[in-house]
């Protein structure tokens, strides 16, 4: 087990553990902080996968902007911890949720690993059955190239830029409009308007 493997397990534990704690912690603020932890873990996994640009984005957008927004709202509404009221219902739903999510995971893993088995046994050399270390990560060249209609993986930001502006031009524009719509929506939802007086007095 070499260093990167250790790192993988470390960061995986970090992200999953952070997520779990976020889900289970009673106070929203702590939940948000745990969330940040798990996000950072994910970011570092991106680094492991040579997606440096995405890692940066992850930290900036998620851990930075989004979570700060969350924290800001939490402070604004100063939500306390979930009260113990309706605890039985909470307990029942929690147990049911655990069970069903467990089932979901089992199914997903079964599907994923099932495909892996079929892959190994479909391979010709049956000696490699079982141990999946036979997978060789393709080596990456630091250059932006396109192979047919697909873009070749490269850690460089340049490749991203080309990809976005050349191949994914239209989605990029659409995403811009998406953000515009979101912005307009947020404004319309939260700004005070003369129309509101009619609604408030009820």
């Amino acid at each position: 087990m070499s260093g990167p493997d250790l790192l993988f397990y470390l960061f995986a534990a970090l992200s999953v553990g952070g997520g779990l704690l976020m889900v289970l912690s009673r106070h929203p603020v702590s939940a948000a902080l745990f969330m940040i932890v798990s996000l950072v873990g994910v970011a570092s996994l991106f680094v492991l996968l040579d997606a440096f640009f995405l890692a940066i984005l992850q930290v900036l957008v998620y851990a930075g902007a989004v979570m700060v927004l969350f924290l800001f709202i939490i402070m604004l509404l100063d939500v306390g911890p979930e009260g113990a009221k309706a605890s039985r219902m909470k307990f029942v739903s929690g147990v049911a949720g655990l069970i069903s999510v467990g089932l979901l995971l089992v199914l997903l893993l079964d599907l994923g690993l099932g495909s892996m088995e079929s892959s190994d046994c479909s391979a010709d050399d049956c000696d490699s059955c079982g141990e999946s270390a036979a997978f060789a990560w393709p080596e990456i060249r630091d250059e932006t190239a396109a192979n047919g209609s697909s873009l070749v993986f490269s850690p460089s930001v340049k490749a991203f830029g080309f990809g976005l502006l050349a191949k994914y031009m239209l989605p990029l524009q659409v995403a811009g409009f998406l953000l515009l719509a979101a912005m307009v929506g947020v404004i319309i939802l939260s700004k005070k308007s003369k129309g509101e007086e009619s609604g408030l007095n009820q």
Binding site: D5, G19, M35, L108, V152, G163, Y168
Partner: protein, 102 residues
């Protein structure tokens, strides 16, 4: 990094997705439900990046970029809704959102 295969990442992604789903199901604070949704998206991102790396194919990474954008927008709208609702109801707990039903 040769003992780690895409399957490990896949498993990790599924775990994150499941944890997020768990949050959606059991948390009654809408803020936390939104966070859990983010967590699910993160799981997906992990899988996506792993696949794109394993397939030496950049499209996945670019997809991650779009997913982040969308997630941010969703969160923004969601929080705005939440605030607007909080102004009326003084609560952000799901059990208080029972006006519509039956």
């Amino acid at each position: 990094m040769n003992a780690i295969t895409p399957h490990h990442f896949l498993v990790l992604a599924f775990l994150l997705f499941g944890v997020g789903f768990l949050g959606v199901v059991i948390r009654r604070n809408v803020l936390l439900v939104l966070m859990s949704l983010e967590l699910m998206l993160n799981g997906i991102n992990v899988a996506l990046v792993a696949f794109s790396r394993a397939g030496a194919n950049l499209d996945g990474s670019i997809f991650v970029f779009f997913i982040m954008t969308v997630a941010a927008a969703e969160v923004a709208v969601g929080l705005a809704l939440l605030v607007a609702l909080y102004k009326r109801r003084k609560s952000i707990f799901t059990e208080d959102m029972g006006l519509l039903g039956n």
